[in-house]
């Protein structure tokens, strides 16, 4: 079997991740931050260690401003719904996932104004267009770090600069990039970093988070969920302290234990080494697919300017047919269709049919990439069914 669906979720997970989750359930079973006995405190320590690991990976100065969520979508919703008010203006790009577009469209119905800045057909974004879309009412610029359809990396620093020049915040959706591209929230000017745990960070599903920068006023940010925090129990109002303000209810401790182990695994390997590996895989994949007659490729086509995500279509074939053949005849796991990103497919001209997406990861080797290229070439040679 060849797993090329790392953009959906990474697999297999490092053994340390699974061990950390089992250890948490076996030996740290208390409710973190609630009870003050040894098991509760140990659970709290494991979660705090995960906060520190995340802060280290993203160069965030304060681990208490790492808010754990269920996934990147939850983190994006927290940032958007927590900060945007009727009358505010927000700028986003034409390559966004529905994790950004759907909460924005819902906010639009409540009086938030939205400008979607068009991307080029390869998914790239001109920061000057973002700067031109910003108005004095712009409260936030919300963009993805890299497209989940084409892998195209967006110019974060330049967009952050344009946002900050107008006094707006930058929200970055790092669902596709956390753990696979270097991210420094301070150097890159990222005020709100939304990440998921189960992709590049090698953690389990049901984990993710939002790193909140110093420019964001905690007092002005509303939580999505309110409830018990184990702190200031005498009050019936949600506390203002981070991380408790945004983490009402019992945390996914077991999942966060796994996430922490995944992040430490990334830190020990080094993001730059992971990135080099993925650039090489992407180069082999792009070169191989390009040589196949009848294939149309999408995205920038330069392994240094995209993640290890490659989208293509084949003349005269449905993407679902290609996906089924790759799975049934070659044991190759990929994802076809719209990838929860209709805006991105409109941008690259593949709406509503979608594309075949091959997404390599840290556990992929170049032999698997060559086998996938051979399989696509063989399918292309066969008559359409």
């Amino acid at each position: 079997m060849i797993y090329l669906d790392h953009a959906a979720t990474s697999w297999p997970k490092p053994p340390g991740v699974i061990r950390a989750m089992a250890d948490y359930l076996e030996s740290a079973g208390g409710n973190p931050g609630r009870s003050g006995h040894s098991l509760s405190i140990e659970a709290g320590r494991i979660i705090y260690a995960a906060r520190e690991a995340v802060a280290e990976l993203f160069h965030a100065p304060d681990p208490l401003r790492v808010i754990f969520t269920l996934n990147a979508t939850h983190a994006i919703n927290l940032a958007l719904c927590g900060l945007l008010r009727p009358g505010d203006h927000v700028v986003t790009s034409g390559i966004e996932h529905n994790s950004v577009m759907r909460p924005l469209r819902a906010l639009e119905n409540r009086g938030v104004r939205i400008t979607v800045v068009a991307c080029n057909t390869d998914g790239s974004l001109d920061p000057a267009r973002v700067a031109a879309a910003i108005t004095p009412r712009t409260r936030m610029v919300a963009i993805t770090h890299a497209s989940n359809v084409t892998g195209t990396i967006l110019p974060v620093r330049e967009v952050a600069e344009a946002a900050h020049n107008a006094g707006a915040l930058l929200l970055l959706d790092a669902a596709q990039t956390a753990g696979v591209l270097p991210i420094d929230v301070q150097a890159m000017g990222i005020d709100l970093l939304a990440f998921t745990g189960h992709k590049g960070l090698q953690g389990p599903p049901g984990t993710g988070g939002l790193v909140i920068g110093e420019r964001v006023s905690i007092g002005q940010m509303e939580p999505l969920v309110r409830g018990g925090t184990g702190s200031r129990s005498e009050h019936e109002f949600q506390p203002e302290d981070v991380p408790d303000k945004f983490e009402g209810g019992t945390a996914n401790g077991c999942g966060i234990a796994g996430l922490g182990a995944g992040v430490r695994w990334i830190l020990s390997r080094g993001v730059n080494a992971i990135r080099s590996h993925e650039i090489e895989l992407t180069r082999v994949l792009l070169e191989g697919l390009r040589a196949i007659p009848g294939i149309t490729m999408y995205g920038v086509g330069n392994p240094s300017a995209c993640t290890a995500v490659v989208s293509f279509t084949m003349r005269g074939r449905r993407v679902s047919e290609i996906g089924l053949q790759l799975d049934e005849e070659y044991g190759i796991m990929c994802r076809v269709g719209l990838h929860c990103a209709p805006a991105a497919h409109r941008t690259i001209g593949t709406f509503p049919e979608g594309t075949v997406r091959l997404a390599a990861g840290i556990s992929t080797d170049s032999g698997e990439i060559r086998a996938a290229v051979d399989a696509v070439a063989e399918i292309a040679r066969k008559p359409a069914s």
């Binding site: 003050g36 709290g44 208490l64 702190s231 129990s233 302290d241």
Partner: protein, 73 residues
């Protein structure tokens, strides 16, 4: 020997402080917050009262937000 406790607003801050003070060579222990100091159900950090100045200085240097430091028993 008399002890003191550091009271925090969040358990995350208590755990963070435990790490800082242990690294600073102090003897500390996380305990349920004594009821006489707070109605919180959270955790507090117990230390030897002799070390109060060190505790204050280390936590201040690290920028930890704490509720109060109290003499315990």
């Amino acid at each position: 020997m008399p002890t003191g406790v550091v009271i925090f607003h969040t358990s995350s801050a208590a755990i963070r402080s435990e790490k800082i003070l242990l690294k600073g060579g102090l003897t500390v222990k996380l305990i349920p917050t004594p009821r006489e100091f707070s109605s919180d159900c959270g955790i507090a950090l117990r230390f030897e009262w002799d070390e109060e100045a060190n505790v204050r200085q280390l936590l201040e240097a690290a920028g930890v937000e704490l509720a109060s430091i109290r003499r315990f028993r």
